[in-house]
Symmetry: C2
DNA sequence: GAAGGGCCGTACGAAAACGTACTAAATATT
DNA sequence: AATATTTAGTACGTTTTCGTACGGCCCTTC
């Protein structure tokens, strides 16, 4: 028996499931590594698996004429492959591994069958999608109302939560894509945050030093989505 | 019998339903006017009804320290109250009437019951939520990669589709909130579009004159979400 | 038909971010 | 150890958008 047990799983959605729902999925779950740059879901391609992230970060991005833009971000709190929850097996977006880690993947058919059979599973995963929508809304807010420094703080906080450690393996180049700014803009913003003691940065790695001040800097672009996630996973 | 018949309904989701699913909802549907400024869903309040929009525009907005920001937009192609589809009855967002019209509203309980009973209804409404997510993604793209003029073109196109007529009753003040820019910025952008013959503007009203050029101006921020909607409503 | 309020046009200095190009440092490669 | 490659830092003129303020127009209301 190599199937995961609830107690050995980090993914918060799987842990939130009742034992019957977990059992429904467990047989078909398979642990796979997430390697930097892996494309878990390609644009307009059939989605073969849903991924319950155990460790690492996966981003949902749109591929546009002006390059990739980030729509949303998923860590061990979430699921990649939300279109399957929404009764379709394609999406124009892509899901790509941004920080390496691991996931429990589930064949699309198995997820579909489980969703058909279990109202409670539909509840948990539907509410997760709701929390994702709120997350995207917060990102819209950040892009509109914050300077580059603020947006950087916002993004670091989200990643910090979803990675569960203080050292974030991120290059400026990468961040510039995520934040939608020039690469030198990231350099400047990083220095500002570092100068104020909110983070320390070295080549390819940012370390969180003062979460509270980061939250202050992100203002009300941070927290709403996270509160919504907690509410949705515990309330009902 | 004052319940709506499929043939008298404009809402595209209702029209896409099979006759059994439509019948399931019809008894509880009630036609209500949508008055400018009506708040259909308040932030963190219990959602009492879902609204299948028949005419007019409803926006999903987030209320932030920096004012309201638009997350998404719904016309006769959609449904207001998507959190109900996602198994929750609250959301931090609000839904507010931006262009007056009418809707068929459905008590939350009735929607929940119908969703529990009907996998096909879950399919249609779930896929609609998916199309909304894509729509929000396009808005993120527009906010990041277009100038104010381009974003205005993007917004006019979306509204044009969802209103189904060429005359859009919009003030600069209102647009400045939707686009997240200064009010004089809207004035300038409007003049540019008008100068190129894409629209004509008079006090409180913008008239679409050249959709093709508007689409050109919006680039690939327009079209993806609309194609996705059509695919999702017809494909499966 | 005068008054007032909402809507629109215009102007201008300031700030943020851009595009681009080039240098420097750290890590990989051989 | 020498060299290539990736990542990070810096510089500078340009563009976009901002904040703010004020004047004019249309339309309602009295």
């Amino acid at each position: 028996m190599s199937q995961p047990q609830p107690s050995t799983v980090r993914n918060r959605l799987l842990r939130a499931l009742g034992s019957d729902d977990f059992a429904r999925l467990a047989l078909a779950l398979e642990r796979v590594p997430l390697t930097l740059g892996d494309i878990l879901i390609g644009p307009h391609r059939r989605i073969a698996y849903a991924y319950f992230v155990e460790e690492g970060i996966v981003s949902v991005v749109a591929d546009t004429a002006e390059g990739r833009i980030e729509i949303g971000i998923t860590g061990f709190e979430g699921l990649v492959g939300t279109p399957l929850v929404l009764s379709t097996d394609r999406t124009p977006h892509m899901a790509i591994v941004q920080v390496e880690g691991a996931a429990l993947r589930l064949p699309a058919d198995a997820l579909r069958a489980a969703l058909t059979d279990s109202p409670t599973l539909r509840g948990v995963l539907g509410r997760y999608v709701q929390s994702l929508i709120v997350q995207v809304g917060q990102t819209v807010h950040a892009g509109r109302d914050l300077t580059v420094e603020g947006r950087l703080a916002h993004w670091i906080l989200m990643t910090h939560d979803r990675l569960g450690r203080d050292e974030l393996p991120l290059t400026h180049e990468f961040l510039s894509v995520m934040l939608g700014v020039r690469r030198p803009g990231v350099t400047a913003a990083t220095h500002t945050l570092e100068g104020n003691g909110l983070i320390t940065a070295r080549r390819g790695c940012i370390t969180v030093r003062d979460r509270e001040k980061l939250e202050e800097m992100a203002g009300d672009t941070y927290g709403v989505a996270e509160a919504e996630y907690e509410r949705l996973l515990t309330d009902e």
